[in-house]
Amino acid sequence: MKKRLLFTLIILSTFACNKPADEVKQEGFDRKLMLTNYYDNLILPAFTTLETSTISMETAIKTLASTPTEGNLLAAQKAWEDTYLVWLKANAYNFGPTGEDGIKKGIAEEIGIFPVSESKIEANISSNKLTFNDFNRDNRGFLAVEYLIFDKAALNKLQVQNRRNYLLAVTENLKGFVTEAKKGWGAYKTDFVNKNGTDAGSSTSQLYNEFVKSYEAMKNFKLGLPLGLRAGQTQAEPTKVEGFYSGKSLKFIEAHFTTIENIYYGRGSADGLGFKEYLETVEGGKNLIASTEAQIAVIKNTLKAIPQATPMAEQIVKSPQGLVNLQTEMQKQTRFFKSDMSSVLGIAITFSSGDGD
């Protein structure tokens, strides 16, 4: 047996020596380059712009809190919407510096929970409770700010000092997370790029798994749940859309989907190495690319067909068909992103040992 092994090794090395490299070698793929692209062109820019944008939003909110006028309210709303759109470029990266760590959850759970609990927020306002050291996550974050500044009577209500205090505290709290995230990612490049395997815990595996999770969360909770398409629901629940108070839900879904698309392509300021390019080099990858991109096109068309002027929550009540179609088409995409892709790329999806033995 040893001889046989040696023999095969000899054959192997003869092959390796005698033939031109491209004939004996796989096309190959340098995951380090891919990770570098993800880091330089997608992840770090996302958190950098998120930080800048959050700081401007904070300034606008401080102005509003000190002088609650119509103009200042509109400015704060605008700043919030801009920031939230930037947030949707960063919300898929719930690992590494923005992953779970002890009692701290991933960043999307810390500052991106919706729907928020109006009653919990109102209770905190009445008691002027401005700390966030409990386990609630639905009384804070971006969507709590939205609730406070997009309320139809926001200006009136903000005349109350407690409410302004809470608005400032929530903003401060989420800015803290954003600053920490930016700082963490800023120092994480070497770690991120060097964990270039495909095992559980490697950067490729973590990025991929969070990408799929983010996609599924979008489909299930931004569409399925408010549409009443989840098992056990007895009716649609339009108030559970993301961005209920601002009425920008559709725009947010579109932005979220664009992020998913960008991660798939490895597309930041320029289109670099991403999962797509990785797929091109593996067994069965080209087929999968074709199916994936055909379905991406279908989803985009379905999105386009949905009227933009009517808020999503209203459409859910009056004419949900376009949204239901979108959910259906997104569902069809799931398998390409989820099992097909992890399978051909050989990426670990769990921490438990082995699916074979």
């Binding site: 095969t8 070698k25 796989q26 190959g28 490697s202 989840r230 069965g284 050989g346 082995g354 699916d355």
Partner: protein, 412 residues
Amino acid sequence: MMLFSTLRFWALGWIEDHFINTKCTFKYYGFEWVQILPPHFMYAIHTVMILASVGVLFGFFYRISAILLFLTFTYCQLIDLTYYLNHYYFVAIACLFMIFVPANRAFSLDIRWLKIKPVSHVSVWVINIFKLQIAIVYIFAGLAKINYEWLINALPLKIWLPAADALPFIGWLMKYKITPYVFSWAGMFYDTFIIFFLLNSKTRPFAYFTVIVFHAMTGLLFQIGVFPLVMIGATLLFFSDNFHEKLLNVLGWQEMSVHTNSPLNNNLLKYSLIAFFTFQLLFPWRYLLYTGNMFWTEQGYRFGWRVMLMEKAGTATFYVKDSKTGREGEVSNAEFLNNHQEKQMAMQPDMILQYAHFLKNHFAAKGVFKPSVRAEIFVTLNGKPSKLLIDPNLDLTQIKDSWTDKKWIINR
């Protein structure tokens, strides 16, 4: 016979709590009655398992320890089908054997403290049942590799190996197109023939060297836990008594023991063993009784020593319908299953069926009237485009699992 010390060592690493915070567990057919216990019981069972394995290792209250070890280990395997692994099955069988062998009769605390009569001889059948079992494992694993995908297409290794190109020492090998083919054929030859090289005293040292190399490689390449150690340890059994005595001498244990060829006199044990091995030899072939591609339907796949044979993954979406209102909703699997469970369930028909029945009961209790459950399941096998595994309009609650051919699996 002290060579079992290596075997005993494995038992020490098996403490894991897959069994806490579980909402849904998948059962082995015929073992649906095995239930998960509350967390503190699970910890207690694992504690017993550890103590029992220590008992076996040091030969202290040996037989009781061996029985407890077998029972606790097997219980933990039976709780959830998700975690089925061939090497756990192998360990369970080895634990079962250990109950019946007199491994406490030399170098044991039973002798030192409990004054059990030591023996310096061990019957050859004791060693042989382990050897036979190991032979079964390897040869079946080798035969299973003799198929078109494995040998001609080098699948799934063609998928798995390039993903391992970042590994130290062997990563560079993965860049070559021929590597998966070499590994596929080498793996097949290794599994099928290694046992014969181990049996022959001349080739044994080489063979054992190969065992170490092979299992070290697979250990590096794949997430397969302790399997390489188990096999590297277990195959030590093939070495002669002389070798082990020398080893023991080196370790400073002076007492000698010699194999003798005393026959197995206990008829009950003898016929049980014959029955057991007949079962072992036949059971892996049961897939021949089913129609369709075994890799796709997984009928007769388990308990057949089919290891690392396919790359398979699925996405399973379940829909629960209220039969009064007609309202249908999509299930979020993550609400009920952990990642590992979801992954395993999404490609294995019997688990899909169990999950559908679990969902029916869950949502019936939540007030959905006579729920029907259907599932859209797309499975990819060895990197091929995914296809539907079952009819997406089929009400799974109307189907019961059995040994009969699962006709409802499509695209077979």
